[in-house]
Every structure is written in C-alpha cells, then in structure tokens.
Symmetry: D2
Subunit: 274 residues, 4 copies
C-alpha cells in the first residue's frame, strides 16, 4: 500500500536522539475544541463543548513527542459521557499510546443547571464554567475540579452608611477543590456552597415577584468580598473528602472600574511568608 510505504521512508525526527539530554515535564496540545457529554448529579447527561489541553512528559533522550497521538486519542472518546473516572481512563490511554510516564488532561466547558425562579417558579438555564484537571502516572492520579459561579454581592459598608440602598454587583466566585482519592464531589454541591455564601444567587429568568425577592434577599445578606471567601472556606474546611481547596472571589464593583478580590488557599501555611 502506497501510503504506508511512504511513511516507512519518511525520517522520524521526533524519535531521533535529542542533543539536550533534558526531560520535559509538560509537552502537548492546547486549545483543542470538541463537543462532549457530561454526567449530571441528577443522573442525566448533558451536551456541551470543551476546550481540551493534553500534556505528557518527554524523556531526556527523545527529541520530541508523537504529538498526533494526543488528538487521535481524545477524538476516540468524544461520544463517551465524561466524568472524572472516564477522563482518567482517557488519560491512561493517551499516556500508553504516547509511551509517556504521565499524562495531564484539562477539560474546560460550560456546565448548565436549570433553576426555578424563587417565587414564580419559572424555569431558566444557568451556566457555570467548569474545569476538570486530571493527572495520571506512576501508578497514581490526582483530580482537581474548578467551578466558576456568578452571584450577587451587596456591600455591608454601603448599606450601613447610606440612608437607603447599597451598591451591589456581580461576584465572580472561582472554587477549586481536590478530592481525596476515591472521594467523589458533585459540581452541583460546590455550586451550592458558592451561591449560599453570596448575598444572593442569580437566575436567568426573573419575573417581577422574583426580582423583588432577589433584591430584598441581597439587601438582607450584605457581604464583603472578604465575607464570601471566608464563608466558603469555613464550609469547605470541615469536609473530610478534600485534599485541599482554593477560593477566589472577585466583585465587579458597580461603583469602580477595578474589582475587589479575595483569595484563600487551604494548602499552605502562608503566614509569615512573602
């Protein structure tokens, strides 16, 4: 067959000897887009679109990875309904096919949850940017999950000092958790933690009675960016299924062009350190 004959003759530069004798931790592809299916907590599946990064390590003695093996393997699993276990399985497949010791796969995708408006019960779809980040190799693996939740924050200081009202705005809550091995954490539960800690959760459909409800609820729950990040921290730190977590909250201040930001990380003893 002509094509394979030709292939045999083509020099294989990637597998030639590297002049550098240096291993590389992370080599691969970025910004690979694909439609995927995700399993939801309610047992259904949903369709969405992921941007995928796939990385492997490269041995000191090799000049380059066989890069086409990464999209070929990703491509084979697009019809599959993904969850952390399934993505780990894909990582193992990528690693083996590419003859690497470790493989990291990062899937970023919008995730959708249908919510009922608080009073009218009108249904509306809310979207959350989610990242599944899996790394596998040397007989072990780790999984990190990030979810980006938009919520309302209302300023306690503005409320206290003003005759009426208080400035409020979109709060962008970014929550990353690393579950312990064999522990499974639902996206829906992380989203609930973030929304409960804000002044009020948001909705995509609100009728007048709902707008009254969310306005008044936010006013009854004023929160600094510091309050939101601490409240989420308190909620997560008592869980026993997490190795670590990180919370970043950014309030898109309605009275400023800059954002108010607070970050907490369970991992390190950062005190007395710059």
């Amino acid at each position: 067959m002509e094509v394979s004959e030709k292939t045999c003759e083509l020099p294989d530069i990637q597998n030639s000897i590297s002049e550098y004798k240096l291993p590389i931790e992370t080599v691969g592809i970025g910004n690979f887009k694909a439609p995927i299916y995700i399993k939801t907590k309610s047992g259904t599946f949903q369709n969405t679109v992921a941007v995928v990064n796939a990385f492997i390590d490269l041995k000191a003695e090799s000049k380059g990875i066989n890069m086409s093996r990464l999209p070929i393997t990703l491509q084979k699993h697009l019809a599959t309904t993904l969850n952390p276990d399934k993505i780990k399985e894909i990582a193992i497949n990528v690693r083996k096919f590419a003859k690497a010791d470790r493989c990291q796969l990062i899937y970023k995708f919008p995730y959708f949850i249908q919510k009922l408006a608080p009073e009218s019960k009108e249904p509306g779809l809310c979207s959350y940017d989610v990242t599944f980040d899996i790394c596998e190799g040397y007989g072990t693996s780790r999984f990190n999950m990030t979810v980006n939740v938009i919520a309302t924050s209302l300023c306690p200081c503005s409320k206290e000092i003003s005759y009426k009202s208080a400035h409020n705005q979109r709060s962008n809550i970014i929550l990353t958790v690393s579950p312990k091995e064999d522990c499974f954490v639902w996206l829906e539960d992380m989203i609930e933690v973030a929304e409960m800690s804000s002044s009020c959760e948001i909705y995509s459909v609100l009728k007048r009675e709902d707008e009254k409800y969310v306005t008044e609820k936010a006013y009854e729950n004023p929160k600094f960016v510091e309050d939101i990040v601490r409240s989420i921290y308190c909620n997560l730190v008592k869980r026993e299924d997490l190795n670590w977590f990180r919370v970043e909250v950014s309030n898109e201040e309605s009275i400023h062009q800059h954002n108010a930001v607070a970050i907490m990380d369970s991992r390190e003893d950062w005190r007395y350190k710059v």
Copy 2:
C-alpha cells in the same frame, strides 16, 4: 394563588409611560448561553453551545421592554434542532410574546466537521466559529450567516525571494453571506470556498505523511492576504443565491507581531469614497 396575587400588586414600571417619546431600535439581552442542536449538511444533528443575543424594538410611548420574555422564549426552544428556518420561527415567537414589531436573534456557536487527514485518512474534528443572525418583522425577514475558518497562508514574496522555504502562518478567514429569500446556503459549502482559496486547509490530526502533504501543498499555493480575499470574492460573486457578502482575511504573520488584513464587501460601491 399567592404568587399571582403578589404580582398583581407589584407596580409595572416597564409598562408605564416613557418621558422620552423616542422609539428604540434595539433592546434586549446579550451573552445568554445555552446548549443547542444544529442540523448538518449530511443530515445528522450535532450538539454545541451557543451564546445568544436577543433584541426587539421598543415603542416611543413605553418605558421598557418585558425583558424576562426573551430568555423565557429562548429557553423553550433549546431541545429543538436549529436551522435558519427554526431560528426565524423562534424570532417570531419572541416578537409576538414581547409585543414588538421586530426581533433580531444572533446565535454564535462552534460548529464541528470531521475531516480525514489527506494521506493517512486518519479522522480528526475541526471547529469553526459560526454566527446565525436573523431579523424578522413587518412581514419580512433577513438572515446573515458568518463562518470563521482557520487555514494556512504561505507568502508568495517570501517564496520568490528566498533560496528555500517561505514564511507561512494561520490565516483567519471570516466570511459573511446574506442569502436571498428562500435560498439556503450550507455552512459546509462556505467553509469549502474559504479553504480552497487558502494555501492549504488545516486538519486536527496529521501523521507524518500528511504533514509532508500539507507542507508541500502550501508551498505550491503561495497566497498573499490579498489573493485569498480576491479568490473568495470571485467565487462568491458569481453565485445567484446571495444578496451580498463580506470577506475579511487576517494573516497572523509568523514574522511579525501584527497581522496582515484584507477586506472586501460586495455591497457598496466604495470606490471614490472615504
């Protein structure tokens, strides 16, 4: 029923009289995200995620639109497989429910096509950013379709003056067409026009024999940004199913930080005009 009683009591500010006495052409929502289904040329459907803008007009005498009616209507058609006719139908529904004279719906989404690598025939998914832009009202409608195609461009000047090789790069081809009423244009056909006019189309999976093929094909087809835009223009101008079209090509020069850009528009006689 309690909720509706409450609603009845709530003042309806949007429907109060406007102090301005000015109609507004375009009022609505932007950045509404939803998973959708799209019909493909091959008769199958594909799942993807759209960012939707929905706009209506507002009468001079009204203070505001009933904005929640826009997401409510969009929401009802998410399980539907969309094509231009179906989106027009949604636009009519939005317009009627919101009591407007016109409605514009803009869906932006990544669209996927499976391609076989040119020599190895290995399958790989390519993505194209697509916009469907429909405007409906006063008994008529118009539809514009934009597709964004990434391709390879190789510089004819660099080839001619250099001993060997030529600089080449990603070319970003943005094609907008407005089909005549009752004419239907396939996305797949517009993508083919764009790819044929480039130095070489791109693929998501390329084995060594394929890489040889695309490298040599691009070298045999050197194209300035001006050549690509003119070639697409020539191809489209002879079609009888288009009201107008616009082509924008931007080469992400591998030898510069800036891009080389060319734009042609079939609509206007721009000569002798600034």
Copy 3:
C-alpha cells in the same frame, strides 16, 4: 552599497500584475502596538499605548500593497502628540507613501481622566477606552470617535417593587460620534454626556463619605438601560456639530449572567425595516 544592490535584484512580487483585476477596499495591518501621546482638553498631553490598524485600498491591477510602508510611516509619528488633525496628517502620509487613493487609520487606546471623589475630594484616575477612526482620500476625510464609559445603573423596577434597595451594576456605555467637517468634539464632553445619563458616575478612589454619596445618588436616579440610551440620544440629537452618532449601553446585571442591552443610532430611519 551592498544592501540596495541586493534589493534591486530581488523580484518585486507585490508590484507584479494581479490575475484577478479586482480592486480591494481595505488592505493593511492590524494589531500594531505603540506608545503614543494624546492632547487633553485641559491643554496638557498624556502618554498611553495604542493598538493601531492601518488600511489602504489596492488597485485592481496590483497583486499586493507594499505592506512595510504602513508600519514605517506609523513609526515616524510616535513622538508626536496626537489629535484628530494630526492623525489625519499621518493618514495622508501613509496614503501618499503607499501610493493609495484612501487610507484608514484606527487608534484604540485607554484614556485617563483624574477625578476628585464627590465628598472627600480625594483624587483618583479613571480610564476610558477610546477609538479614533480616520479615513482620508479623494480630497475629503471623515472622523469617528468612540468612547467607552463605565458607570453605575440602578434598576427603577427593582426599586419600585422592593421594600428597600434596588439591584445596581456596572453599565458599559459605548458612544460613537462623527463630528461634522471642521467641528471638533472633546472626549471629555462625550464622557460627561454618558456619565450624566447614568444613575451615577464611577470613581477609582472612594472614601466612606463618598461611598455614601454614590450609593444614595444612584438610588435617587434609577435608570433602565432604555432610559440611559434615550437620555444620551436626547442630549446628542440637539447638537449641531455631529453628522451622526450611535449609543450602545450594556448593563452587566447583578441578578443575571446575561446583560441588558439597548442601542440607538441617529443615522437611519430603521422603523418598518428588518
């Protein structure tokens, strides 16, 4: 001299005959970055950084433009303090050097205004994204200016129906004006029109007494996105120095993930049209 001898021998592909016989309206470079100086209304100059697009037309019989002449000309005027007249002068230079009939130059840059906080009078710098868009040729020219103003909007409906408070958020006001020939419009005046039409302007430094002021002022000035766009329209339509203008307002709703948008354009009689 060696370099020029070499140049003489190199084939000049751009100036060879085009096979297409089609003029191109717009050819040039995009995303060219440069530090610039801008004249302010107060007579001082300020330093900022522009992203510049520079376009010319191409004759039907030429294969390509001499693209390097565009950055060479831009480059020569970086130490100059820019205003619309100066940019027009650069456009004329680009056009002549590149032997074109028309030249369009688009400068996008952040513009800074120092404001005093409303009560404490503490100074703080606010930034506004500005675009100067000049087109020159055939003995005439046109100039469009766009300014992007961030302000606070507070919802009248939410205020009316809620026991206390009202949802409020960042409002993104995009104002484009095209002054009549020989008329000059200050950026500072356009920014003032936009800020006056919002619920409250924003500041980069606010002490407690200022925060009280802006919270209460916004509550006293509730504005729908429709109110803001109409108010700006009314303000601009009575000016005699504008050929046309366009206003786009996008409220980054604190209770939704999507934005509320309104657009008005003085140019066209859009009624009864889709």
Copy 4:
C-alpha cells in the same frame, strides 16, 4: 470641617470585628489601569500603561481591609519611573498605609524595544507583554518577572520530510524568572535568551531583503516546541543570579487549530510525580 465630621459619624464596618476569626492571605484590587514610566536597559525611560493588582493580607479579627488605601497609594506613584526597587518601595508604602503584614503588587504592561531590520536596518518598534510581581513583608521580599516574547518557529520534522519548505508559525514564549536577592536581571537580556532560542526573532518592519533574511534564517534553524523550551532552560540553568525560572512555549501551528505547548520549571523535582 463638614466632610470629616460626617466621616466621624459614619460607622466603620471594615474595622468592626469579624465573626469568622480567619486571616485572609490575599485581599485587594484587580484591574486598576494607569499610565506608568519604566526604566530601560539603555538608561532612558519609556511610557506605557499598566494593569495593576494590589493585594494585602487581612488579620483574623478584622472584617475587611480599607480598600481605598490601595488605589490612593498606587495613585501617588504614577509619575515615578518604575523599576523593581521602586515597585518594592510602593509595596512597602501600601502595606504600611493599610496596616498589613505583607503586600503583593503585580504590574502588567506592554514594553517596547526598537529593533533594526536585519539587512535594511530600517527601525521598527516591537512590543513585549511584561509582568512585574513583587511581594514584600516580614522583613523580606521576592520579585518575579515575566516576559512574553513572540518569535518564529519552524518545524524540523516538516523540513526533513518535505521536498521543499517547512511549516512555520508564531511561537509565544513566556519566560518567568525569580532573581536572587540583590540580583538584577534586565528584561532585554531575558528577551534575547528567548529570541535566540527560537527559529528566528520577529521584527515590526521588514523590507524585501529582510524578509529573505528571516525566511532563510528560520529554515536554517528548525525548532520543535521541545527544542525551544530546552534551549532556554539550558541557557538559564547555568546562571547564578536566579532562584528559579519557568519557561512556557506555545506554537500557534499554521497547520492546526490547536497549539503545540511545552513547559519546563526549574523549581521542583517533578519526576515520578503526578
């Protein structure tokens, strides 16, 4: 004086007691824009525009930071010509004024270098995105510097297997270095390391003889993304003035929509770790 009387009366919510008893590592402002001056290696200064993030820590017992003190302090140093020492000085000022133990300041800005085209010697301005990240407190400090260099990469495999030519593209090289205390590293030197390791550096103005030069030079220097990252690593690892460094290279493949990426970090022994 009225204003300060009023201030005295306003309740100070930020300084009230927190219910959480949790310190926060990072609280502050993000996306604060300001024009700045930077010192260059050649001894001149250049004007540019920075996006600044300013963070401090918050004690367990305080409810919130005095956020306005951050922009007030940044504001006071805008006329200063910045270098790492000066930014450290600003960090100390922010920390003291805000009564914090540590302060982190992150300045991101485009940096400009004038280059002469390789043959014609025509001058042209190139821009590099730079980040200065300083953290100060507990009697010590650390400084990280990131520079983003665009260069040309040409594929060795494509060159070897193809009859003529090779695919080439923009390579995005992101270099972060952390100099040892009292060591100073020039941006210009880091940029040179990155450009030397690519297939060819880029220019903003290239005449025909220059285009011949860069095309042929890139063809003589084919580099995988792996080669570029390893070459930079080798160059930096022998320096004695760095605590650590990280190199990320992303090739915007002209034959794919996805990028080819390689990352090396001097810090950790990542082998046998997932």
